[in-house]
């Protein structure tokens, strides 16, 4: 399995088209708004369309970097800050992590530390 499964994967993503939930008396305007909202739900996360989704192996490597105790606590600081702190303290963190972090600089999933709430 390439990507970790979420609990919400068991609920199929549905476009809310003509079959609207009962009890909502709305007029034509709201129907269009609903269509746009449904469109947004399908997309994963706000990202520039030109970037490919991050490699799951990369995310796994970053997660392992977060959880390794030698480099100190991981919460509250970005991964790059943690890497640079480890470098200054002489703990020799692995170089490929830094390259990966700089390469995916604009991707918030990559740069920010692992929250502990999501994959």
């Amino acid at each position: 399995m390439e990507q970790p499964r979420r609990i919400t994967d068991s609920f199929p993503r549905r476009r809310r088209g003509p079959g609207r939930p009962p009890g909502r008396l709305k007029d034509r305007k709201d129907k269009n708004k609903d269509k746009d909202k449904a469109q947004l739900k399908v997309r994963e996360c706000p990202r520039t369309p030109s970037q490919p989704p991050p490699d799951p192996a990369l995310m796994e490597m970053l997660r392992r970097f977060d959880l390794s105790w030698e480099y100190g606590p991981c919460s509250g600081i970005t991964r790059l800050q943690r890497w640079e702190r480890a470098q200054e303290l002489g703990l020799s963190p692995p170089g490929p992590i830094r390259d990966a972090l700089l390469e995916h600089r604009d991707n918030p999933d990559v740069t920010y530390r692992w929250d502990g709430v999501g994959w």
């Binding site: 030698e70 100190g72 606590p73 919460s75 509250g76 600081i77 800050q81 640079e84 303290l89």
Partner: protein, 461 residues
């Protein structure tokens, strides 16, 4: 009195005034550099936990402590982490101390409804015989027993212990060591007498007229308007004045306005406004004559957590027009004429006093130097900024003058280290209580107190 070194041909005050009064130019400022950049905070973010401070402190001091441990107990001792400990094996562990104190004020206990307790009043000391010491490293913690003085040590100190683990999970300590004095700095002090005046606890805004007279006398001595020509020529050798905190009195901190209704307190001015105006006038007199470094203290209008940021110059409009006024941070480090000064306004020492059995302030000051850290209790019981990159309170070089402000009385000691360190430890007394300031001679690192007692209504003769 430093007027013993006064020019012998100088006239006394009982002689008729000379036609052309002599002027004594102040010794020029030579070689000043402000080294308190690590204590200045730019963008501040409080979204972090304090675990980072402890992690960085341990990681930063671990190599030094491992070196000291090898030097003390032999090169072949086993240095282990707590997770690698084996029962009965003699080894050395480096970690952070944590002292579990029953009387330590805890905010969670105060707001806990099930206890229904009145919050405990502030005590002078929170130590008790049943306190326990734990050693923590990156992953685990263990209780310490044996040849270690539980009452004397405080939370946050990085220490190396030598001993073995017992069956019941305690660590039996046979010996322990601290980081010891940091490496010495080369000495390039001046060859002639240069004095620096250290004063703290001016305590303005306390409604006491006597204290103001002593402050004015202090300013007059420094600016050379007091005494005969002998004293004036000596005052010309004072190159700098450092005010180490508590420029405002504790009375300016009254919080009655918070509890009263808004319509009653609308026109009241905070007590600190008047006090800061007085401070501005005093600093103006000083700044026209001598460079002044002003450090904030516990009762001054700046942030509460260490490192305290400098007072804002808009509060001192008259004095900040002069370039001789320097507003500096609370732990303050500077190089004056080749002599390295490092000092605080006293919050770190008084906090250690509350949580340790050490009673003598000078002993605590010396102990912080031996522990290699300005304020080990910092995030635990003393407010501290949540650093994440490095702990700026770790002592990496041994200063030549290490001072602490707002002490109950004047004390000083010249400490000699094994690697050639020479440190002058100075406890600068609280001026509003003792009317005493200190004069440090940069040439030979000697220190003498100078007292400005005035005759009050109830003074003894």
């Amino acid at each position: 009195m430093f007027s013993e070194q006064a020019a012998p041909t100088a006239q006394g005050l009982l002689a008729p005034p000379s036609g052309q009064p002599p002027t004594f130019p102040r010794v020029p400022v030579a070689g000043y550099s402000d080294l308190s950049q690590p204590f200045r905070l730019g963008e501040r973010s409080f979204c972090r936990q304090y675990a980072h401070v402890y992690a960085v402190r341990l990681a930063g001091m671990r190599p030094l402590l491992e070196r000291r441990a090898r030097g003390r107990w032999g090169d072949d001792i086993a240095l282990r982490r707590l997770s690698e400990l084996q029962e009965g094996e003699k080894c050395c562990v480096v970690g952070t101390l944590f002292k579990a104190m029953q009387l330590q004020p805890s905010i969670l206990q105060e707001i806990s409804e099930e206890h229904n307790l009145v919050p405990q009043p502030p005590l002078p000391k929170y130590i008790q015989p049943c306190d326990e010491l734990m050693l923590e490293d990156e992953l685990q913690r263990i209780k310490l027993d044996g040849a270690i003085d539980v009452q004397r040590l405080v939370t946050g100190t990085i220490v190396a212990v030598y001993g073995r683990e017992e069956e019941d999970g305690r660590f039996l300590v046979e010996d322990h060591c601290l980081a010891d004095l940091p490496p010495p700095l080369p000495w390039s002090g001046p060859s002639s007498d240069r004095f620096v005046l250290l004063a703290s606890g001016l305590g303005l805004g306390s409604m006491s007229g006597e204290a103001l007279l002593s402050t004015q006398l202090l300013v007059d001595v420094v600016t050379g308007q007091l005494g005969a020509e002998g004293e004036q020529s000596c005052a010309a050798h004072i190159t700098r004045v450092i005010l180490a905190g508590n420029l405002l009195s504790q009375n300016t901190q009254s919080r009655d306005t918070i509890n009263k209704a808004k319509y009653l307190t609308k026109k009241t001015q905070a007590a600190s406004v008047e006090a800061v105006k007085m401070l501005d006038e005093i600093l103006l007199q000083l700044c026209t004559s001598v460079p002044v470094d002003v450090m904030p203290g516990e009762f001054d209008p700046t942030n509460y957590t260490l490192p305290q940021q400098p007072l804002h110059r808009c509060m001192l409009p008259l004095a900040s027009a002069y370039a001789t006024l320097r507003l500096v941070t609370n732990p303050y480090q500077a190089s004056l004429d080749g002599v390295r000064f490092l000092g605080t306004s006293g919050q770190n020492i008084s906090d250690i006093f509350k949580y340790s059995s050490m009673d003598d302030y000078l002993e605590i000051l010396e102990w912080t130097l031996l522990a290699g850290h300005i304020s080990p209790t910092a995030p635990d019981t003393l407010g501290c900024y949540p650093f994440y990159k490095s702990d700026p309170f770790i002592l990496t070089e041994c200063p030549h003058v290490y001072f602490c402000g707002n002490a109950p009385r004047f004390q000083s000691k010249l400490l000699q280290g094994k690697e050639g360190q020479r440190v002058l430890l100075v406890m600068v007394p609280d001026f509003s209580a003792t009317q005493t300031a200190c004069l440090v001679n940069l040439r030979d690192l000697s220190c003498q107190p100078i007292t400005f007692s005035s005759f009050g209504a109830d003074a003894e003769d």
